[in-house]
Symmetry: C2
């Protein structure tokens, strides 16, 4: 630790934990993308907001770029540090600070792990309803930085909807307390919402006040087997009309085979091309009857060919594992990930167009489709064939992504539904946001980060 910049950081923050061993540099320099070679300067572990203020002020003086770091589960390279940046890990700022029973809010540090937050909410008889498969390691700060979505958006919205207040340190090195938990506050621009989804390019979230929801109602989970892709949106319509949907998730048999290969068990005797997981509230017997009616309606219409319904929490968890286990089952293959969205109503036309495109674009690759179809969000993971070099594989995938980006632009969609732009999607940002919008975003960035030290190189096209 002889870098003079780190010496100067130590001198202004003598108590700050700094690591620069090779294992730490590698671990904190990369996220789940595994595409860039980690090469941070060092890792800082602040313990309080004022430490982060000191780090940003130091970074401005020294011209060091900062990369905020949460649970490192990002899928877009937003937390990659490959160019001598200082990684600011919020790992040591992971406490639940307080609960307000009247406002029904939870005050947490940004490094709090999602599952810990969910459990804290439950301990107060309430729920933090944002949820994803990575709940055991992702952090609230990272969720906020990408406006993370997940499997309950259909019912509860994205992370954004659950933020009553944010404490951030901007790239100017100033600590801002944004909205402070107020339900109603029409006093100038809502900087809280500007920070949500800004991927660390405007500031570092250090604390959040989270809204909590009432405890969820009892639910059942159904797994449906579908004969054709075209049936997915129709099944959604049949079920949404009759039930209070908590989730509606889709995946292909290719996805199911990977999860089963990873240890899950297939509840069906036969292979079907498409599957849907539906979770719905069952307040009473009428709720269960409505679910059966929806199922029968879908069967009669030929939209569904088989189905199972959970009879216990354990069965519900088994069904969910088939959907939630997909990402983990594919992870060793380091798939190329697309995370696209369109309006829900635009989905059928969009799907029709991209099926052809991807069939031609990836003729020799295994393609795994799944996603939050009820929110218009589709994940398309592409697997590298054995023996193909990674760079060649990524190059081929990026050619297809360019075409996909054009199709999205025509259908009014987004190149990133929930993963963020990071490094992975920044070449395609202009398909989703206009040149004028990007110019405004760059201008705003200069206001909050005048020296360009906040996660430089991410989000904005070079």
């Amino acid at each position: 630790m002889t870098d003079p910049r780190l010496e100067s950081l130590r001198s202004v923050l003598p108590g700050l934990q700094l690591e620069c061993g090779p294992a730490e540099l590698e671990h904190f320099g990369r996220d789940w993308t595994r595409r860039w070679t980690p090469a941070p300067l060092a890792i800082a572990f602040p313990r309080q907001a004022q430490d982060v203020v000191g780090i940003v002020q130091w970074a401005r003086r020294e011209g060091v770029v900062l990369v905020p770091s949460g649970g490192r589960t990002g899928l877009s390279g937003g937390a990659v540090a490959a160019n001598g940046e200082l990684v600011v890990s919020l790992e040591r700022m992971n406490r639940i600070l307080g609960f307000d029973p009247v406002d029904r809010t939870l005050q947490v540090q940004a490094g709090a792990v999602l599952q810990v937050v969910q459990e804290a909410a439950r301990s107060h008889g309430l729920a933090y309803p944002v949820d994803f498969g990575s709940r055991g390691s992702c952090t609230i700060g990272g969720n906020i930085a990408t406006n993370a979505g997940g499997i309950r958006v259909l019912r509860h919205g994205n992370t954004r909807e659950w933020i009553a207040g944010l404490t951030v340190v901007t790239g100017r090195g100033e600590l801002l307390e944004l909205n402070r938990g107020l339900v109603k506050n029409s006093s100038g621009y809502d900087l809280r919402h500007l920070l949500v989804g800004s991927e660390g390019t405007l500031g570092i979230v250090v604390e959040a006040t989270l809204k909590l929801a009432p405890s969820p109602p009892p639910t059942n989970v159904m797994l449906l087997a579908l004969p054709a892709f075209e049936a997915v949106m129709e099944v959604f319509s049949v079920f949404r009309e009759r039930l209070q949907l908590e989730a509606f998730e889709f995946f292909t048999d290719v996805a199911l085979r990977h999860v089963v290969g990873h240890g899950a068990s297939d509840p069906f005797d036969q292979v079907h091309p498409y599957y849907v997981v539906v979770e719905f509230a069952v307040a009473d017997e009428a709720g269960e009857a409505a679910a059966m009616a929806a199922f029968e309606r879908a069967m009669e219409a030929g939209l569904v060919v088989d189905g199972v319904v959970s009879q216990s929490d354990a069965q519900a968890a088994q069904i969910w594992q088939l959907r939630e286990g997909i990402t983990e089952s594919l992870a060793p293959r380091r798939p190329y990930k697309n995370d696209v969205s369109v309006r829900v109503g635009a989905m059928p036309a969009f799907l029709a167009e991209i099926q052809g495109l991807l069939g031609e674009g990836y003729p020799d690759f295994e393609v795994v489709w799944f996603g939050h179809i009820g929110d218009g969000n589709l994940h398309i993971n592409v697997l590298r064939p054995e023996g193909m070099a990674e760079q060649a594989f990524i190059g081929r995938c990026e050619q297809v992504t360019r075409l996909l980006s054009d199709v999205l632009a025509r259908h009014g969609g987004s190149i990133s539904a929930e993963h963020g732009i990071g490094l992975v999607k920044k070449p395609y940002l202009q398909g989703t946001r206009s040149v004028a919008e990007i110019e405004v975003m760059r201008g705003i960035r200069r206001v909050l980060d005048p020296d360009g030290i906040m996660n430089r190189g991410k989000v904005f096209p070079d």
Copy 2:
């Protein structure tokens, strides 16, 4: 119409309707505040987004300040034009453009009147659930510009929550289509949320894509008479625990007397100091029983001394009129309005402190308290004594507002819960937003409005 600047506007937009008769100048130069002398240059009535683009580009060239104008029901002077501005009225851009049954969204022009939007949603079996007393004249564009709240925030949130997409013309004269109705879109900064609540200082909203909610459940409305101010928050707690609250509104007997004086009828034989309107869902008999249980619990605890419950829609409307009629009944007196908020949990301590403050500050004024207490939002209207000059009255009120602003700062509250800052509250913005926040807001304003033509003089302290 011989002003050369207007001639140049005519030459670039020959079809644009422009008015500068004295009646129009007066009508469009002021809002419900009636405190400033209207003196706009002229009124423009664009018919399409491209007209607005042309107006902004002209305004940049000519250095003319623009004041966007909706239903003119503002309470903070945000739409006042008293300095030779061009008022841009969205009155002629008031159409419902489309409905998407899959996404459950309504596409509207910014000048659409709230009630028309609500009726359009109902005609599709859905609801636009944001609601206030001014629904018959306020417009969606104005609602968006102040992030308007109203009487259903407790259940449905503010206007912000219902905006799936916004089309705006920025102060740079560029047309931006923000978020385009997507449920999930993590592709850079969410400029949509930046525009919501920006009070016309960043751009002019020309279209919006509104989310719609399922039709509301059947509800009942209760009017409760309370013996003491301290009981209000306790009654809220009793009812919220037992019922699905749709609204929880509070007012004092002083307010009731004004509404009754305006033609409404008092349902109680006796005078009580405080009243609450509770609206709650009644899905079935269990719901009605829960409501009675809550009422009895509150009676037994001495929190409530009398009450009536609606037996019909007509009765429900009569009860609501007692709350919603307050603003209109006071309007002829041109009250000085405070519209403050704190966290709901901070309300008791805040109330205790301000009751003394306002008692001392307004010893000889009639003070009318009411508001959305379940959201932490209180309206405090002060009436000018007969015979006191308006300037002297406002001067006295502003001294009190300065003290109130200090108390709000201590309790983490806001000087504007839902009216916006406009002209009226800008001297107090620094009690709610830090100097650093205001500096960031000014910087953002310069990005979207580099020439300072968008509603200049509003929101930011001089």
